[in-house]
């Protein structure tokens, strides 16, 4: 009885809610007005052009005086507002939009009402704080029903109510739950990127328990392959590649970053933490190795090593890319256009771009061919040396610890030869080394010398006699602060303690006097024994350091430090390293976006659009992006996750949730998911993904009636299961699972599977595609070596980008080149043959069993017959053509001679057909 009262009470409350919501609503700026302005007005009256002194981008501009001396919009008075009046004008010079078709009556009415109501500005939905939307009406009713014991609805969890509500608005409804096998295949592909095996299907089929599905979900989320699948998504966003891009497109060792991403997903690292480590791991207190590796996120920018390039130009290009990528990947906002002028559509001002750039403009990297700075991963013996040095340093002042700590781990901050100018009788060799001839010199400007008493030089002296290097203060005639003998015998001398002479370079420490502030230093080289056109000694880089602490002098500190610096590391990974204070670069606004045309200096800061506490450095920025104060981060992230599962985002333009992106098809759902992710699940991806895949929405069948398909052709309203073509990674990984070839090894350097000859052909590069040995040729596609100028063919053919810049969304295409790839690529044929060999069955039985194993359900008799007819035709042909049979079988590296060769070929071709059918190419 009590329950009934509550039920009735709930009914009344619900009715009231409905009544209230039906009240006349005011015109909403962001959903109703802004789209009209963006479409019709803002290209002439926005962030780029302000015709007639009128702009609609910011409220104060729109309500301010125009060139005519009067405001164009007078709130409350559409009849006095030229903004409205000119929409009605017949005079072609007056009429707006200028020389374009007039607005529709509804649009004009809407704008008129808006001005009448006070021309209230509003914020674009995505910039408004994230709040939990209330669970749509209907749910309370169903909950109440459930409460009184009447079985509730289709919904499995709250997100389904949001899906259902929107379906109701659209006059649509959901579909039944998918069959078990289809659901399992979908779940496997979505969570781990790999299809289930025959045994997996069977086990699930036989599990009758109520939570059988949930058990699968939990199991898959624990699989190490989960991290691989989601890292694959992140690779496009991070523009991960194994080469540096541009002309030579040489190798870059950055795979440890890829492994970091895999591990982060597998550890269920909260997303805010994940962001923080990637943007600012180097600035965390006591950063761990993995914190540094995380920062390689932004070292995936391209490098230009082409001879004659200006390193500063490409360093700047990399910084701009980091700014644009941070915005696109984490904030779903296109920011690139603000480089040249205020944002044309969203309220972000030109100088705010450069304030944001200032966060990134002080990393140590300078487009150096060896990707410096790098984290130097040493062999255990040398790691011991580093540990020993660190323990020497541990009781030193923090500044000393930091300076020497960075030197022994990163050999930074380096001063690169490209700093030099005023070359006399010498030049930059190969664009990277200082190469000065006898009596020649070069100047290094404004070197931070305060408190520096040690000079480190990496040099190479190929001549017959020692070179004398004089370092002058100020000018070439200025006082000499150091006379250094660069001895040819250095090589011999320093080579003896192993590791001090590496790849032709010798390293030495020199004492220098303490000098104030920043100094110009002129380096003069003398070696009378060299020929006039010959270089004396080549300098690779140099550095200045504070004094070795007094009490350490007696120890072997200096000697050990030199050893750590000179030893070639086993692996290097490019990382972010912030400039020490005295190396800080000033960031200036680029006039019209050109780096050669710099104007006022700016301090780091985020756009005023986000009203927050000051954000002043890269770590603050990372914290702010991950914080609940940021309205975009969670929305952008869940939209990406959703797209991975459903094939299309709730906001289709994953890259742009700003006012120029597409509107969310169900904003309440997006906000609900974002809030769940950020608050309820504390940014844990696994909890969030589980929430989504446990929903009824996710578990729907893909079978759909024609009228629903017509009304919802792209499944924007989640009226059915997500039937979408697999990614190239999934397509190749899938056949490796099916054939039994897949190596399940996790992580490590990238590998080279089979690839036809001649695909790599870059100029000035000796790099070769060399097929990996053993199981490494059958690793998951995520590990395939990615060369930017020539990515792996299957990737490119199936819509992956080149990873030159970040890619938010692969636009799926359907082309004949794809068909040729899956039919004829030796990789697909090899897998087909291995699959065929697994079965003793032939003909129809082989087809039936094969299909069942691949897709988990029985093949229809008509499909089986069609494939069997093909089998019979092929078998007859190869039985009659032994030469062709042998020719075909040469494809496989396995040399064992099959007993029934013609049958094997026929089965292989049938298997290849099975791999190519629509059901195999799609998620069910």
């Amino acid at each position: 009885m009590k329950k009934l009262f509550i039920f009735l009470g709930l009914c009344i409350a619900g009715m009231t809610a409905i009544y209230v919501s039906n009240k006349q609503q005011k015109v909403d700026y962001s959903t109703q007005v802004k789209p009209i302005l963006n479409k019709n007005c803002i290209s002439c009256h926005g962030g780029v052009k302000k015709q007639g002194g009128f702009s609609l981008l910011f409220q104060e501009e729109a309500l301010g005086k125009t060139k005519s001396g009067k405001p164009a919009i007078i709130p409350g008075h559409p009849e006095q507002s030229s903004f409205i009046q000119r929409l009605h004008s017949q005079d072609p010079e007056e009429k707006m939009p200028y020389q374009r078709p007039a607005l529709s009556e509804e649009e004009i009415d809407l704008l008129t009402t808006w001005v009448k109501e006070g021309a209230n500005w509003g914020e674009h939905w995505a910039y408004q704080p994230l709040e939990a939307p209330s669970i749509p009406a209907g749910s309370w009713f169903e909950k109440a029903l459930a409460f009184v014991g009447i079985p509730a609805s289709w919904a499995q969890n709250d997100l389904d109510y949001f899906v259902q509500a929107e379906q109701k608005n659209q006059g649509l409804t959901h579909t039944d739950q998918a069959e078990k096998a289809d659901l399992l295949r979908r779940l496997y592909l979505d969570i781990t990127g790999l299809p289930p095996t025959a045994a997996d299907y069977l086990a699930y089929e036989q599990d009758d328990s109520d939570d059988a599905y949930e058990k699968q979900v939990d199991k898959l989320l624990k699989s190490p392959h989960y991290g691989e699948k989601w890292a694959a998504m992140w690779m496009d966003l991070a523009r991960y590649a194994d080469t540096k891009g541009y002309e030579k497109d040489e190798a870059r060792s950055i795979w440890k970053y890829r492994d970091y991403v895999i591990a982060s997903f597998n550890q269920n690292k909260p997303y805010d933490q994940f962001i923080k480590e990637q943007l600012a791991g180097d600035l965390l207190p006591n950063p761990k190795e993995s914190d540094y590796i995380a920062t390689a996120f932004h070292r995936n920018t391209t490098n230009n090593d082409e001879g004659g390039t200006v390193d500063e130009e490409f360093r700047t290009a990399a910084i701009l890319d980091r700014v644009n990528t941070t915005w696109e990947v984490l904030q779903g906002t296109s920011f690139g256009c603000v480089q040249c002028h205020s944002h044309p559509y969203d309220p972000i001002r030109h100088e705010e771009y450069y304030k944001y750039m200032a966060f990134f403009n002080n990393s140590r990297d300078e487009d150096i061919p060896d990707d410096a700075p790098t984290y130097r991963h040493h062999a255990p013996a040398n790691e011991k040396t580093i540990a020993q040095l660190k323990s020497f340093l541990s009781n030193q002042p923090l500044a000393t610890q930091k300076a020497w700590g960075q030197m022994i781990r990163f050999v930074e901050p380096k001063i690169h030869p490209h700093w030099a100018d005023q070359f006399e009788n010498g030049a930059l060799a190969d664009n990277k080394y200082l190469a000065i001839r006898n009596k020649g010199s070069a100047r290094f400007m404004a070197v931070p010398m305060m408190g520096k008493t040690k000079l480190l030089i990496a040099c190479r002296n190929s001549g017959p006699a020692p070179t004398y290097l004089n370092i002058h203060q100020g000018t070439k005639t200025g006082p000499i602060i150091a006379r250094i003998k660069l001895d040819t015998t250095l090589q011999e001398k320093y080579a003896k303690p192993k590791g001090l002479f590496v790849k032709g370079w010798a390293y030495l420490f020199v004492d220098i006097p303490s000098l104030p502030g920043k100094q110009d230093l002129v380096w003069e080289f003398l070696n009378a024994k060299t020929k006039p056109e010959q270089t004396t000694a080549t300098i690779g880089f140099w550095a200045v350091l504070p004094e070795v602490p007094g009490q350490l002098k007696s120890t072997a500190f200096e000697k050990l430090a030199l050893q750590a610096i000179a030893t070639e590391p086993e692996i290097t990974t490019p990382v972010m390293l912030e400039n020490p204070a005295d190396y800080t670069r000033t960031t200036r606004v680029f006039t019209r976006g050109s780096w050669l045309n710099q104007a006022d200096a700016v301090q780091p800061g985020i756009p005023a659009l986000f009203k927050n506490t000051p954000v002043t450095n890269r770590l603050d920025l990372a914290n702010w992006i991950g914080s609940t104060n940021n309205p975009l981060t969670a929305r952008v992230a869940v939209n990406r996750f959703w797209e991975q599962l459903f094939g299309i985002g709730i906001v289709e333009t994953l890259e742009d949730l700003g006012s120029q992106g597409l509107a969310p098809v169900n904003q309440a759902l997006l906000d609900h998911l974002a809030y769940k992710f950020q608050v309820d699940f504390k940014y844990q991806p696994k909890a969030f993904l589980k929430y989504v895949v446990m929903s009824a929405s996710y578990q729907q069948s893909s079978l759909v009636d024609e009228s629903t398909r017509e009304k919802d052709p792209n499944n924007r309203y989640i009226t059915r299961g997500p039937r979408v073509r697999l990614s190239p990674e999934q397509l190749r990984d899938q056949i490796l699972v099916w054939s039994g070839l897949l190596s399940r090894k996790l992580g490590g350097p990238s590998v080279m599977p089979e690839q036809p000859d001649g695909v790599w052909n870059a100029p000035y590069s000796g790099m070769q595609w060399k097929k990996s040995d053993g199981e490494d040729q059958w690793r998951r596609s995520l590990y395939t070596y990615w060369r930017r100028s020539s990515p792996y063919p299957t990737m490119v053919t199936f819509d992956a980008g080149t990873r030159d810049i970040c890619l938010s969304r692969r636009i799926r295409t359907n082309t004949p080149m794809q068909a040729l790839n899956t039919l004829n690529d030796p990789v697909f044929l090899e897998a087909s043959q291995f699959f065929a060999r697994k079965y003793a069955l032939n003909g129809l039985e082989f087809i039936q069993k094969g299909y069942l194993d691949l897709l988990g359900r029985d093949i229809s008799s008509s499909k089986a017959e069609k494939l069997n007819a093909f089998y019979a035709q092929t078998l007859a042909y190869y039985q009659a053509h032994p030469k062709e049979t042998l020719a075909f079988l040469k494809l496989c590296s396995d040399n064992e001679k099959p007993g029934d060769a013609a049958n094997l070929v026929a089965k292989t071709l049938v298997a290849n057909a099975l791999f190519n059918i629509d059901e195999s190419m799609n998620k069910p």
Binding site: G426, L428, D656, V704, D757, R812, N814, A819, L823, L889
Partner: protein, 486 residues
């Protein structure tokens, strides 16, 4: 089943043809972008429709052959005749030309280098063409020079990217992608954008020079190969003949037809059409790529040598491709970077060698297209990514062993011929030393705008929405070079 696929093909082919494109004036550019099922784009609604309209004028060119001499040929040894430069040969370069300038390799004060070629005037047009290009000289009246070209990139990869994608940074769609996105193909059995490279290397800009950038990947150029299969994976595996392949595709499609009946997913039909198309391409591509069946006089005309990788073969292939309706053909020939650091890289011997490899063939291309009546509908564009300095290169401040010139942004020469172009003209002039353009300056963007114009596309209105902005090939620059238009 066949009916279903056929209908899909016909519908899409109709959408793709120029005829349809011109008839549907007034619809958004989204519908002009070809193929939603044939070469289909399955994401359904494709993001925003651009607010632009289809260009209101008709283009004269149906196809483009862009002949890119990667590395940048020296205009001063080929077309930009500078007798004054010869007079000052060996003299120091005047300081005012160097002030505030940056070169890729020249340091300090270099010496001027007189032209290392002999120039004569040719034809009615009186075009100056050097003795490096005797064959082209016979075609002088058909070609039009742009002698006032300039760029702002002095390194190969960025300059090539600028030339082909309108941006010196990686990530934008190439000219050919834009064109195939806009105009589609005239021949459904061949890709609409094909790329051929000779000289032993791909261009410095890599595949990005024919990449689709942010356009769907279907619009990227398909690179044809001189060795191995003509197009990757087009050849059936050893021991599989065309009948077996047909049977396998029929079996796959028969299964897919049933799947379509179950799920009603239009992508399934599209896939069936793609498999049919793949099968047709397996014969049409090798067919167009096979030059061995060309008559002897054609081989003589081009100087071709079937089975070898050569620029001459590629010129003949380009002709065959446009004849079959390929919309955009890019030829890259690597090895024109004459710095003077080696004999092969010199502006006398090395450049002459490159001309020996290419002069006859590119001239043959003009002759052959004309004799087939195709020159009226094909635009040929020839040039490099920048020019070369009037100064002898002095890399690292040192004397070079051979005659060579550094990269130069301020003046270079390109030529155009064929559809839409007034023949026998010359636009643009450089100063007496050939250092800078003094009249008729044309930028890389101007050239791109002009190429699009010849194809009937207004470069300012032809846009694609990406990252919240409508992007175009020419960014915010470019003016159609009207004086050279027919």
């Amino acid at each position: 089943m066949n009916k279903l696929v056929k209908e899909a093909i016909e519908k899409e082919a109709m959408l793709a043809t120029r005829r349809h494109f011109l008839q549907s004036l007034g619809t958004g550019i989204g519908s002009l972008a070809y193929g939603s099922a044939l070469w289909g784009c399955s994401s359904g609604s494709k993001g925003q429709q651009a607010s632009t309209r289809i260009p209101p004028h008709f283009g004269k060119a149906k196809s483009v052959i862009f002949v890119h001499m990667a590395g940048a040929p020296s205009q001063l040894e080929l077309f930009d005749y500078k007798p004054m430069l010869a007079k000052f040969d060996g003299k120091e370069c005047p300081q005012e030309l160097l002030e505030g300038k940056k070169f890729a390799f020249i340091r300090g004060v270099p010496n001027l280098l007189g032209p290392k070629a002999h120039f004569l005037q040719h034809g009615q047009s009186g075009h100056w063409i050097s003795d490096h290009m005797p064959h082209l000289a016979t075609q002088a009246d058909k070609i039009t020079f742009l002698k006032g070209m300039y760029t702002d990139q002095f390194n190969h990869a960025p300059a090539q990217l600028l030339m082909h994608t309108g941006s010196a940074r990686l990530g934008r769609p190439s000219l050919g992608s834009w064109v195939s996105y806009g105009l589609g193909s005239e021949n459904e059995n061949l890709p609409s954008f094909m790329v051929l490279a000779s000289g032993g290397k791909n261009p410095d800009a890599g595949k990005s020079a024919w990449g689709s950038g942010f356009l769907p990947s279907v619009y990227q150029g398909v690179q044809c190969r001189s060795a191995g299969e003509p197009v990757l994976f087009i050849k059936n595996p050893d021991g599989v003949n065309s009948d077996i392949r047909k049977a396998s595709i029929d079996a796959i499609n028969a299964v897919n037809e049933e799947t379509y009946a179950e799920f009603g997913d239009p992508e399934t039909v599209a896939r069936m059409a793609q498999y049919e198309m793949a099968y047709k391409m397996q014969s049409s591509v090798p067919d167009v790529m096979d030059i061995s069946k060309e008559p002897a006089y054609i081989h003589q005309l081009y100087g071709t040598n079937p089975g070898k990788e050569s620029f001459a073969n590629n010129c003949l292939l380009a002709r065959k491709m446009v004849e079959k309706g390929v919309r955009f053909v890019q030829l890259f020939d690597w090895g024109w970077d004459s710095h003077g650091t080696s004999k092969d890289g010199s502006v006398d011997f090395g450049l002459h060698q490159k001309c020996l490899e290419t002069d006859q063939a590119v001239s043959a291309l003009i002759i052959d297209l004309e004799q087939r009546g195709l020159l009226d509908e094909t635009l040929i564009v020839w040039g490099g990514e920048f020019g070369r300095t009037p100064m002898q290169e002095n890399r690292e401040g040192q004397k070079q062993s051979f005659y060579g010139r550094d990269h130069h942004t301020e003046a270079f020469t390109m030529w155009l011929a064929g559809a839409g172009i007034k023949p026998g003209m010359s636009l643009g002039e450089t100063d007496d030393l050939g250092y800078a353009t003094v009249a008729g300056k044309t930028s890389v963007y101007d050239l791109q705008a002009t190429i699009l114009h010849c194809l009937g596309i207004n470069h300012e209105e032809f846009t694609y929405p990406f990252q919240g902005r409508n992007f175009r090939l020419t960014d915010v620059y470019g003016k159609v070079i009207n004086p050279i238009l027919a």
